[in-house]
């Protein structure tokens, strides 16, 4: 040391400090300061519906060490589609019918039950639920857990005590209405839509006051403009969506009253534009010969003001829908640079097989790109906005039309995609199914199905019925895609650790490298997965990943409802594509929670 001059010493000290600083910086990059965002308050995580978490303790490097931390039986053996919620140190789980709400104490070892709330919905509701008796989850707001029951009610429960705060009946099971969607709370309004597009229901979205449960507005999807809450501020981008009372004039007389357009999917919200976005279901009946016209506003995307429900614009994805292409999928709100221009867009992997990128201020379609094999339609005409059908594949009365792709569940059904701002990619769980169809006459009998079609679904080209696809929305192209045996009926989750999670119907819960699609870890659960994975930071500071297992839903009805595989038309034709599912999974209902050791 003594041999070193003063100046040399200074240089060395400087270098050491510099190296330490660099080391610290690189550590900081690998382990960013604990994010404040360790909760999961609504199924889609944020208003933009990205399902992206900035937690990164679990990452590409260590995810292979993921271990089961604890599990919990929901006690219900039907399809578990819900996303668990995490608020402070409590997890909330909603079951399928009978829609029990459990609160689990994350602050204690093994997360014991804090309380459970049982709304006791009417048993008869099970008879009008088209596609298993699922529930897609609850939402937390202002000290309350709010969710819907199958028999058409919305309940608010005190998040601390489990006591019911209010309960409001919104739907009538006698008319075929049920509720399966997860509500969204925007500006103290609880937004709820009905299910029953296969039952001759008239679709609506209703806003309730978060404090009292009182209805503040209801926007119907069909009927005169005053019922649809279309007024002077309504400015649809395309000509075919413009005109007075289209919700009446695009139907045969009175048919709009039983025309579907239910709102059983996802709602997003842009606080800057102050607009909510949601889509409407297929028109009814499936037999399209019985409803000549565009059938507005079924299979339509709406932008509305949350305070009043007033419609600002609308865009009909599938005018005069021929194939049960509901328009209820998630709307992922992103700010993308497209052709050098920053655009506020809405990205939408639609059931009809196209990924739409839409200007969310105006409703202009910027691109619509196929992401599966499509035979039912030719393209989306970006000039007129219209979906161009393939004349050869139009279903007919009393004739079997074959090899229509995608099948009625579409290229992607309800199962929500995720988006990572780090990779710039959309992660889409979806399916590869085609069908044969024959129209038959549908009779309307209130409270019974209103369909009018015999359907036989089957695997699409290649034979794999499921896909998990990473999609670049800027360049409108697929980056990678993982093939799965069965439709990927679970949601997706992506994290700042660049890990993307999803589950399969043959009981695997998987973690992939979000950049390459390489499988990094998987765990075999007890029953097939159709739920929505979430991640959170526990009271102990550790990152956890949670998923419900329990097969069912439309795709898994063959198992959840003990259907008979000898009838190809069972479950509206889905059974034909799922005959081997009972070999892979039985019914179940278990929550799994994972963490690093």
């Amino acid at each position: 040391m003594s041999g070193l001059s003063q100046s040399n010493r200074r240089v060395i000290v400087c270098r050491v400090v510099l190296i330490m600083a660099l080391a610290l910086a690189s550590v900081a990059a690998e382990n960013p300061a604990p994010s404040k965002d360790g909760q999961w308050l609504r199924p889609a995580k944020d208003f933009a519906s990205t399902r992206y978490s900035d937690l990164a303790e679990i990452n590409v490097g260590n995810v292979k060490q993921l271990k089961l931390a604890w599990s919990f039986s929901t006690g219900v053996n039907r399809g578990q589609e819900a996303a668990p919620l995490v608020v402070d140190a409590t997890m909330y789980v909603v079951t399928p019918f009978p829609n029990i709400l459990y609160a689990l104490d994350l602050a204690k070892p093994g997360a014991p039950l804090k309380w459970k709330y049982e709304p006791k919905p009417a048993a008869a509701a099970q008879g009008v639920a088209c596609c298993d008796v699922v529930n897609r989850g609850a939402v937390y707001a202002d000290g309350k857990i709010v969710y819907n029951t199958l028999d058409g009610q919305t309940v608010a429960v005190d998040a601390a005590t489990g006591k019911e705060v209010w309960k409001t009946k919104l739907g009538e099971i006698n008319r075929g209405e049920t509720i399966t969607m997860a509500p969204l709370v925007v500006k103290n309004k609880v937004l709820v839509g009905n299910s029953g597009g296969e039952m001759g229901v008239r679709g609506w979205l209703t806003a309730l006051d978060l404090a009292t449960g009182k209805i503040s507005w209801r926007a119907y999807s069909t009927g005169p403009d005053k019922d649809v809450l279309i007024g002077s501020n309504f400015k649809p981008f395309y000509e075919f969506d413009q005109g007075k009372d289209l919700g009446v004039s695009t139907w045969p007389p009175e048919a709009w009253k039983i025309g579907g357009g239910t709102v059983w999917g996802w709602i997003s919200y842009d606080p800057e534009l102050d607009l909510i976005y949601y889509g409407t279901s297929n028109p009814g009946p499936w037999n399209s010969d019985q409803r000549p016209g565009d059938n507005k506003w079924a299979a339509t995307l709406f932008a509305r003001k949350p305070d009043t429900g007033e419609a600002i614009w609308a865009y009909q994805f599938s005018p005069h829908d021929l194939y049960d292409y509901d328009g209820v999928n998630e709307n992922i709100l992103l700010d993308l640079t497209l052709k050098g221009q920053k655009r506020k867009v809405l990205v939408r992997p639609e059931r009809n097989g196209y990924i739409y990128v839409i200007d969310r201020a105006t409703g202009e379609v910027l691109s619509a790109t196929p992401y599966v094999h499509i035979t039912s339609t030719e393209r989306v005409d970006l000039k007129t906005g219209r979906l161009i059908y393939n004349e050869d594949k139009k279903p007919q009365l009393g004739k079997v039309v074959r090899d229509i792709c995608p099948a009625p569940p579409g290229a992607k059904d309800w199962q929500p995609a995720a988006f990572s701002p780090r990779t710039g990619l959309l992660y889409i769980p979806h399916q590869n199914l085609c069908m044969d169809i024959e129209h038959v006459e549908a009779n309307y009998i209130a409270g019974t199905p209103y369909v009018g079609a015999n359907v036989r679904m089957k695997a699409g080209p290649g034979g794999d019925r499921g896909l998990f696809t990473a999609w670049d929305p800027v360049n409108a192209r697929e980056l990678w895609s993982v093939k799965e045996h069965f439709p990927v009926w679970s949601g997706a989750l992506v994290t700042a650790g660049d890990v993307v999670f999803y589950g399969t119907m043959d009981r695997w819960f998987k973690a992939l490298n979000a950049r390459t699609g390489e499988i990094l870890w998987q765990f075999r659960v007890s029953s097939g997965i159709i739920g929505q994975p979430i991640t959170y930071r526990g009271p102990d500071g550790k990152q956890y990943v949670a998923i419900l297992s329990g097969v069912g839903g439309w795709a898994g009805a063959i198992v959840a409802a003990d259907l008979d595989a000898r009838d190809s038309s069972a479950a509206l034709g889905f059974v034909n594509a799922m005959k081997d599912l009972p070999d892979q999974t039985a019914k179940g209902g278990t929550l799994y929670v994972f963490a690093l050791p």
Partner: protein, 195 residues
């Protein structure tokens, strides 16, 4: 030998017996409801709770009420038509089920006996089966009962349907090996769940 020939002749002649049709059965009206008709149908039982006895309907004075229907291919074929007409197919598909349970298998939640099946259709069931009693003619309900039981092969082979006029989605009713009902005093699905 003579006796045998005689017997064979008698049997052969018996085989020629024509199936008897009841002229009193009325086909449903083919008129379609206009606009948006509201029906009083709803899932689950209505009015008075289902009794242990079959509902108060006009039964044939002699024999079991279902006998004439279950022995008539025409009644079974009418049942098949009505099964589509009244949207049974919407929930139960062509026997494989969907919103409602399958009808072509050997599981009978509320019993496979014709009287029980009739009761299910007339009074409805608590997990969502609507009550059709008083809304459609009782003779049609018996035709439906006969068809429903034929779906799993419970009726004599010669009255079961051989083919469908629609897209082929299942083995014909006639091709079904009779599925011996099990779980007769079974657990209704609701009891599998808590609450």
């Amino acid at each position: 030998m003579k006796v045998l020939t005689c017997l064979m002749l008698v049997l052969a002649l018996a085989g020629c017996t024509r199936e008897r049709r009841k002229p009193t059965d009325v086909a449903p009206s083919s008129a379609r409801p206009e606009g948006s008709p509201e029906s009083a149908l709803q899932p689950g039982p209505t009015g008075t709770p289902p009794s242990a006895e079959p509902s108060a309907v006009a039964l044939p004075a002699e024999g079991m009420p279902h006998a004439p229907y279950e022995q008539s291919a025409w009644a079974v074929s009418e049942g098949k038509r009505l099964y589509q007409w009244y949207n049974c197919v919407g929930c139960h598909a062509n026997g494989g089920g969907g919103m409602g349970p399958p009808l072509m298998d050997d599981k009978w939640i509320y019993g496979s006996d014709p009287i029980k099946v009739h009761q299910s259709i007339v009074d409805g069931r608590p997990n969502g089966m609507p009550a059709f009693g008083g809304k459609i003619p009782d003779s049609q309900i018996w035709q439906l009962v006969a068809y429903v039981r034929s779906m799993s092969g419970l009726l004599p082979k010669d009255v079961r349907q051989t083919r469908s006029d629609h897209m082929s989605v299942r083995p014909s009713e006639q091709a079904m090996r009779p599925a011996k009902p099990k779980n007769e005093a079974g657990t209704p699905p609701s009891a599998e769940r808590p609450g």
